[in-house]
Amino acid sequence: MSDHSHEITPPAAEKFDAKHIGGLSQILLVCGVGGIGVSAIGFFVARQQFAFSWLFAFTYFFTICCGALFWTSLQHATDSEWSVLVRRQMENLAKLLPWFALLFLPLILFCAPYLWKWWNIAPGVDPLLDFKQGYLNHTFFYARAAGYFLFLAWVSHSLWKRSTSQDADGAAKHTFAMRKFGIGGIVVVALAISFAGFDWLMGLDYHWFSTMWGVYVFAGAAGSSMSLLVLVITVLKSKGYLKLVNSEHYHIMGKFMLAFSIFWAYIGYSQYMLIWYANIPEETIYFRIRNTDSWWYFSQFLVIGRFFLPFPVLLMQATKKTKYINHVAVWILVMQLLDIYVIVLPALHRTGFRPSLFDLSALVGIGGLMGWLFLRNLVQSNLFPTRDPRLLGSIKLSN
């Protein structure tokens, strides 16, 4: 809701001036190409390590972009006023999703047997696998992966296209169309991120299962995606753009960061609690690997760093409304990185932490490439939806 007091004339459109990017675009591209180049060496000399490192970096950025699509969809589904000023940046982040299909190709084409143990096990060898044959078979696996990317690309592109078209023609029909895409988009993100989580992460050990897995992956993704949005907005503001975004908008984004820190802890704990309490070897294996040897320190640090530290800090209104929100946002993004690392890498190095150059190269490579693509998206359209019917409500926002 906005206040009822002051009349405001619509603000002029803001467009990002490419000169503000400076050399950043080239640096990101060099990082991207360099990182992917080093990873390519890993592809030939240490295929298995490459596969896990690549999956780790891929999942990190992919889930964050899925989170951005979730937030975009949510704003339309709930007809939100507050978010109009910051919404274009969510759309720009979500617009990166189709590119992940390309980055997923090396995994599904050349690394599947290294990552997913069930891939090459013949029927009749493992009765537990035979029971899952209806879901865990090559054809269905390919079809599902294609489905995730197709649907995510369709919804994210449509939302971006409609929103930018409205900048030009100001037609109300786009708002109604985006509302439909938003409501459907929530379902698409929920299904895609859950089942992608099942297929690519839970599938690292086909014996193990957790029905909360999809929600767990989503909870971390949504919170870190909001953190990234905060940082993007702050950087744009520091360059002199988006002056209309004020502490009220940061307050709301901070509240979402707090909510999703709690939600992550709630889901993560519930999953742990049920497995710990039931104590069935088939289920406990996941935590047995991650709570022994050097992985134990990673797991403990994750619990403290992803929840117990940000929770009291974000609880204070002062944090959410001042520059400290940026520090917390960086911290949450680092913790999300740790979370994905602890999910993926222990499946390979079961006896403890073993760092690899390819972890870093995959991260720098995919991150650099995505950053470069994001900057390309940034200059393509206005920095906020200039003719959205709810824009004035967002400008006059008060909590």
Binding site: D3, M273, L315, Q317
Partner: protein, 181 residues
């Protein structure tokens, strides 16, 4: 009898929420402290227009929540470590048993925070209250329908029956009325 009753304050009606907001800003700037606005629905931004600042409700809630966590911690650890130590389900018998107690800590934190919110809110709003002088003003019943009101209390140091009346009229107040206790 009416003429012997104490004066409670001056009330004025305003045409719209926007007019009320402008009026509230002016009264805030005039330096009044014992006054209030009354509207049929919550008006966002009014707390700023009135110069109210941040509510102190969060302090009792934090204290309540922390008390809840502490209570739950003691309620679970004292019996299972001290009074009735018992191994259940073969679970560890040390600090590592804490996951079993998290639900209780969580629930009591929520429960105590909720209680402290409700009771602090009642105290802050001086509720329950069976009588309020503003209801002596017949027009005021429209506050639940379409009326926007400002009432400045007589106990305000800046209150003056004539000057405050002039101020309310100047900022667009209609039906400025003296309200008796």
């Amino acid at each position: 009898m009416a003429e012997y009753r104490k004066i409670y304050g001056l009330g004025a009606q305003f045409e719209s929420a926007a007019a009320l907001m402008h009026a509230a800003e002016k009264i805030r700037d005039a330096g009044f402290s014992k006054w209030d606005v009354h509207t049929p629905y919550p008006v966002h931004g009014m707390d700023k227009a009135m110069g109210l600042g941040k509510s102190w409700l969060s302090t009792p809630v934090l204290i309540g929540g922390a008390t809840g966590t502490l209570t739950a911690t003691l309620l679970t650890f004292i019996p299972s470590w001290g009074i009735y130590p018992m191994i259940v389900h073969g679970k560890p018998f040390n600090w590592a048993t804490v996951p079993a107690f998290f639900p209780i800590m969580f629930e009591l934190t929520v429960l105590f925070s909720a209680f402290s919110t409700v009771f602090a809110l009642l105290i802050m709003n001086q509720l329950p209250k069976w009588y309020h002088p503003v209801f002596n003003w017949e027009r005021f019943s429209r506050v639940t329908d379409d009326g926007f009101f400002i009432v400045i209390e007589a106990r305000d140091a800046k209150f003056s029956e004539t000057k405050t009346r002039a101020l309310l009229e100047e900022i667009g107040g209609l039906h400025v009325t003296l309200i008796h206790d």
